[in-house]
């Protein structure tokens, strides 16, 4: 039987099957289903408070914070590496912006640019150890995470900064707050717009771009990628830089919205972002992960966090829930892949 015969024979069944498999629709369908079911439960439980516009905006804002960092982390996981330093780095960039702006009197745009440059440099720093010295990225970024936390404490003197309560230029303050707060139709938060913008760009480059294809190839088999002359080191460096920048942007926008920055909130971002990416279908061993999946993962986590906060269940319930959902997602993933074979 030739290849053509086989294709012709099964065109219908396989085309459908292939589409489902290719997009991982089944899995994503499960994810969307979970979001809807949980949303419904919270809605009923909270006497429909959950579905109020104001609450949904809070939910979306949290999703944006998670989502932007998660997009960056997705890139790193797809290329087959891991980054534990992004959360502490996000705190550092916010803190550096605050201190250089408020204490050192830099113009805010300079503070922002230098902060982001440091962040990109930190990505390169991670990539140097991972791609050139060949330290496993888990160890390298565990170390660099602690290192950057040290810098944060050093720069901040372990204090909290709020630009509003200082005598910074009011025009600059307005500009900075404007990054996250704008009068948008429907009281939509500016952060959500940022997330949509980044998602579109990432979505295009990850699913249709040479960039995403090569990331998947390198994450799938680094050795084969080397033989295929794909620029492995460059892509790894790029992935770490993107991951660092996205985490920093997410942190800065949060800072702009909240109006203050504490030296150590970054840790609270680490697990939810990882959970969002893993729930979204990215693999810790590399080569798998999509933008849409990651966004859905972030949405699910935002629904859970928001719903439980609304019910005032206390922080311990939220942690237990997060842990359970993450394990559940990984188990489901394993099951669906086994069936796929």
């Amino acid at each position: 039987m030739t290849a053509e015969d086989m294709t012709a024979e099964n065109t219908f069944t396989t085309t459908l099957g292939r589409v489902v498999r290719k997009l991982g629709l089944l899995r994503l369908g499960g994810l969307v289903g979970a979001i809807l079911i949980l949303g419904f439960i919270f809605a009923v439980w909270s006497d429909w408070l959950f579905l109020k516009g104001a609450n949904l905006l809070v939910l979306l804002r949290y999703m944006s914070t998670l989502g932007m960092a998660a997009l960056g982390l997705t890139v790193i996981l797809v290329v087959g590496e891991i980054d534990l330093s992004f959360a502490n780095l996000a705190t550092f960039t916010s803190m550096f912006t605050a201190v250089s702006w408020i204490i050192w009197g830099w113009p805010v745009w300079l503070s922002l640019i230098v902060s982001l440059a440091i962040s990109a440099g930190w990505g390169l720093f991670n990539a140097f150890f991972v791609a050139i010295v060949k330290v496993p990225s888990f160890i390298a970024t565990l170390g660099s995470s602690t290192l950057i936390l040290g810098f944060t404490l050093f720069v901040s003197n372990s204090k909290t900064y709020s630009p509003r309560e200082t005598n910074v230029d009011s025009g600059e303050l307005a500009f900075f707050r404007g990054l996250s707060n704008q009068d948008l139709p429907g009281a939509l938060e500016m952060q959500v717009i940022w997330l949509i913008g980044f998602s579109v760009i990432f979505g295009i480059f990850m699913s249709r771009g040479v960039f995403g294809f090569r990331l998947r190839a390198i994450g799938g088999n680094e050795q084969a990628a080397t033989l295929a002359k794909l620029p492995v080191r460059r892509y790894k460096a790029l992935a770490f830089v993107i991951g660092a920048l996205m985490a920093s942007v997410s942190g800065l926008l949060d800072f702009a919205f909240i109006g203050s920055v504490q030296p150590n909130p970054g840790q609270s971002l680490l697990f939810p972002v990882f959970a969002a990416v893993i729930i979204g279908g990215a693999s810790l061993t590399g080569g798998r992960g999509t933008v849409f999946g990651t966004l859905m993962g972030a949405l699910l986590l935002a629904v859970i966090s928001n719903g439980l906060a609304l019910m005032a269940t206390g922080p311990f319930v939220r942690q237990m829930f997060l842990g359970t959902v993450t394990i559940g997602a990984v188990v489901l993933d394993q099951l669906s892949r086994r069936r796929g074979r």
């Binding site: 039987m1 030739t2 290849a3 086989m6 294709t7 099964n10 396989t14 099957g17 292939r18 290719k22 791609a131 050139i132 010295v133 060949k134 295009i204 480059f205 249709r208 771009g209 040479v210 960039f211 294809f213 090569r214 998947r216 190839a217 994450g219 799938g220 088999n221 680094e222 050795q223 084969a224 990628a225 080397t226 033989l227 295929a228 002359k229 794909l230 620029p231 492995v232 080191r233 460059r234 590399g286 080569g287 798998r288 074979r341």
Partner: protein
């Protein structure tokens, strides 16, 4: 026509055998009846019926993709068949072992089929003795010592000296013997050898075959899957020919000759490709790649001078450790070497005129593609400065930087020996085919899915990749078809020189012919190909010229056209190697 009638006779025999399956099961045979298995769109087994009796060696032959590995996995219980029956008859051995009830035996069946792989599936970090004990510790507290039966097994397998050696420190043959000993300790009744000796020396292979015979003599079922027809003829009592997931014919007695098997293989393969065409290239004056005083950085070879001519297929051969493999890798840019290297820039395919330029450089020759691309035009000062810094850093790191991180040499495509290192297991067949073309297909940074798919489909067709669809995962293909995908992906970049390490290792005869034909077609437009090979038949069939490497130097050159047959060629090679 006589052939055709002989074929139908054999098919009839195969069918008759299937009918007697139930009777055979009672006598302790392994019975496969109408077994079917699909992977996605790919049909691996299509109603396979087969019998293997205790006390005989059953050979299994067949082209890649005929279902051999799937059959092995089903017998081992690693994969469950979609339909059909798999029975393990109650043998004398099982009856003798105390209280083996029917249900218990069925549950045990998976454990009792021992598969001896090319690469042993054991615990490389543990000692030989520990490997025998794992899973049968009998105590939860202390690691027990090996018992008498096990130590007898070690003696039988010639492993008593290495009982306390870590497995990974032993040669492959000893690891395989450990695998056999472990299976015997678990009282396995069925032994399936899956291409067991493709990485063994001749002596080690002989030893392995002796052990196979003694397993069969002890009343066990022995199944040998191999691509090497002469070994099947020599050692098997019967040989089953698997084609397209079915048992096409069974050969035994007088019919069991290498010629008959080879003909059946070639004729029966989906694409009949005819006899190997013998079109050697014309000898060319010009070299596409030439090295002079070429020396490996860690001394695996030194002061090598050689060239690959236009339109030439050059083979490098030499034992493991001779430096031949490293030489091939260094020419591709994946092993650090220095010396003079000259490479012909791509010329027009047909105009032999003065269009070709020469890149000449001496000294350190591990530049990567990015560097070379930038050399067009004069780079601005900051780039020169940056490059100086980068070079300094590269020098400092050179010692630790393994060759994997290198991008390889421009104009050269390389395919390594290990298929697992050449494939992207998370990608589809099509994506694997175009993986090296992303720069070309996605100039704008976006990969148009349609263009990608068209290109992949064209490549799959040109290279006769047998796949249900290019969207299938690459792992759904058989080994030989995966190898074709790998080679197709490398050729698709139109390199000036194609360097392949053991391009047909573990590949069946028809696929081999196909690959050779594709290679010949590839060099016909003036490109060069370099193969590192270890098999005389490959050297004889495909190469124009062969360089024999021994102790890090080129010991001599064979012009393959000068030799009448494989034996003469092999003798000459061996003489050069020994000198």
């Amino acid at each position: 026509m006589t052939h055709a009638s002989a074929d139908s006779l054999q098919s009839a025999a195969a069918a008759a055998e299937a009918v007697n399956a139930d009777a055979a099961a009672a006598s302790g045979a392994v019975v496969l009846k109408n077994v079917c298995k699909r992977y996605g769109d790919t049909v691996a087994l299509d109603g396979l019926s087969l019998l293997a009796f205790p006390g005989e060696i059953l050979g299994i032959a067949g082209p890649n993709g005929s279902g051999k590995s799937t059959m092995a996995k089903i017998l081992a219980g690693e994969v469950v068949a979609d339909s059909g029956e798999v029975k393990f008859g109650a043998s004398e051995l099982a009856k003798n072992s105390e209280g083996a009830g029917g249900a218990e035996e069925a549950a045990d069946a998976a454990r009792r089929v021992a598969i001896v792989h090319q690469e042993p599936q054991l615990f490389p970090n543990m000692t030989v003795a520990e490997n025998l004990i794992v899973g049968r510790e009998r105590s939860l507290v202390m690691i027990r010592r090996i018992d008498e039966i096990e130590s007898d097994l070690l003696v039988e397998m010639g492993l008593e000296q290495s009982a306390n050696t870590t497995l990974s420190d032993l040669p492959l043959a000893a690891q395989q013997r450990t695998e056999i000993a472990r299976s015997l300790a678990q009282n396995a009744r069925v032994f399936l050898f899956d291409e067991p000796n493709s990485a063994l020396t001749d002596e080690e292979s002989e030893d392995l075959f002796r052990r196979m015979h003694s397993l069969a003599d002890a009343g066990r079922v022995v199944i040998l899957v191999s691509h090497r027809l002469h070994e099947l003829v020599e050692h098997a009592n019967r040989v089953a020919m698997l084609i397209d997931g079915r048992c096409k014919a069974i050969f035994s007695g007088e019919d069991l000759t290498e010629d008959r098997l080879a003909r059946e293989l070639v004729v029966g393969a989906a694409q009949s490709i005819g006899p190997g065409e013998d079109v050697r290239g014309e000898e060319s004056e010009r070299a596409v790649l030439e090295v002079d005083g070429w020396t490996h950085r860690e001394g695996r070879f030194s002061d090598v001078s050689m060239k690959i001519g236009e339109g030439e297929i050059l083979a490098l051969t030499g034992m493991e450790g001779s430096g031949a493999r490293e030489l091939a890798q260094s020419l591709a840019g994946y092993a650090a070497a220095e010396g003079g290297i000259e490479m012909l820039e791509s010329s027009g395919d047909t105009d032999g005129g003065g269009g070709a330029g020469v890149v000449r450089s001496a000294g350190e020759e591990v530049a990567d593609v990015e560097d070379m691309a930038e050399e067009e035009g004069r780079p601005p000062m900051w780039k020169v400065g940056l490059r100086a810094i980068r070079d300094a850093a590269a020098d400092a790191l050179a010692k630790r930087d393994d060759s994997r991180a290198r991008l390889g040499r421009e104009g050269v495509a390389f395919v390594g020996a290990d298929r697992a290192h050449n494939l992207f297991q998370n990608l589809s067949v099509g994506e694997n085919l175009v993986a090296r073309l992303t720069g070309e297909l996605g100039r704008s940074g976006i990969l148009p899915p349609k263009a990608m798919k068209e290109r992949a489909g064209q490549l799959a067709k040109d290279f006769m990749v047998k796949a249900g669809s290019v969207d299938d995962n690459i792992m759904a293909l058989s080994g030989g078809n995966q190898q074709k995908v790998v080679i197709a992906a490398a050729m698709a970049t139109r390199p000036r020189v194609l360097i392949l390490e053991e391009p047909t290792r573990g590949v069946d005869v028809p696929s081999k012919r196909e690959i050779y034909r594709l290679l010949r077609q590839f060099v016909s437009t003036g490109e060069g190909a370099l193969l590192y090979c270890t098999e005389d038949s490959e050297i004889f069939e495909v190469a124009d010229r062969t360089l024999v490497v021994a102790k890090g130097r080129i010991a001599g050159e064979l012009n393959i056209g000068d030799y009448e047959d494989i034996e003469a060629c092999a003798t000459a090679r061996a003489r050069l190697e020994a000198a």
